[in-house]
Assembly symmetry: C2
Homo-oligomer: 124 residues x 2
DNA sequence: CTTGACTCTGACACTAATGTCAGGGTTTAT
DNA sequence: ATAAACCCTGACATTAGTGTCAGAGTCAAG
């Protein structure tokens, strides 16, 4: 199939599909016209790519394990583990950071409310 | 004081100080030479700017309430409230998103371990 | 007077996936 | 045959703060 059809079947924009190819995540043979020609497996592959992107992996990271994942069950690809654990570490750090900011912000909001409406005071 | 001194006293790079000025967060008079000349209040102001940046506000957002905050207690600046609440909403969305990804990832890691070391194996 | 530290403006780089445009070739349907 | 729809490459923009460089002017100390 050509790139427009693959785009429709996967939800990825044509631009993105070309980008995945540029990053080594997706390959296509070429028709005589120079148009990309994808086989049916490409649909699954693109969906897999987009799934990992949604988990926050970069195309470079995905490239490092995608071949294995497409050929085996994910659980069979040992090289994916350190990448997952690295990502998990980043996520935890990020969540801690955001939670700290959130706490600070909440406290500030509370203070402003307290200042605006001190007990017993009434403003119009 | 000149920009290098302000940089030393605040920890902000010279580049950043010029950027804050460009974004309307910081003003300086000019010496005959064209050099920026900051007064002593600038130190506090820059520290305040950096604090709000660390909370994740953009220079544009900070610009909208910095003048009030520098002249009053923060709690006195009513216009800051909707911005705080907007930020809080974004933080919550972000934390929920990351937590979801984290859960997914944790599950995957567990699966891989299970596959690699099937104890009490219920393996086919 | 010279050297070195300081400052100025302006510009490009970076992250990373995606949008969008330009200018041109191909396929398909009428 | 012609128009519409499709595809190609290449390039620049986006976010937002910061790093870094170039080329030039200023200032203080020897």
């Amino acid at each position: 199939m050509r790139i427009g059809e693959l785009s429709r079947q996967t939800g990825a924009s044509v631009r993105s599909l070309r980008h995945y190819e540029e990053k080594g995540l997706l390959t296509a043979s070429r028709l005589e016209s120079g148009y990309r020609d994808y086989n049916a497996l490409a649909v699954d592959q693109v969906k897999t790519i987009r799934f990992y992107l949604s988990l926050g992996f970069t195309t470079e990271q995905i490239a490092s394990f995608l071949t294995c994942v497409m050929m085996n069950k994910e659980a069979f690809c040992q090289q994916i583990l350190p990448i997952y654990e690295q990502k998990l570490k980043e996520l935890d750090e990020q969540i801690v950071l955001l939670s700290g900011i959130r706490a600070n912000l909440t406290e500030r909001i509370t203070s402003i409310w307290a200042e605006a409406e001190p007990k017993g005071s009434r403003e119009e």
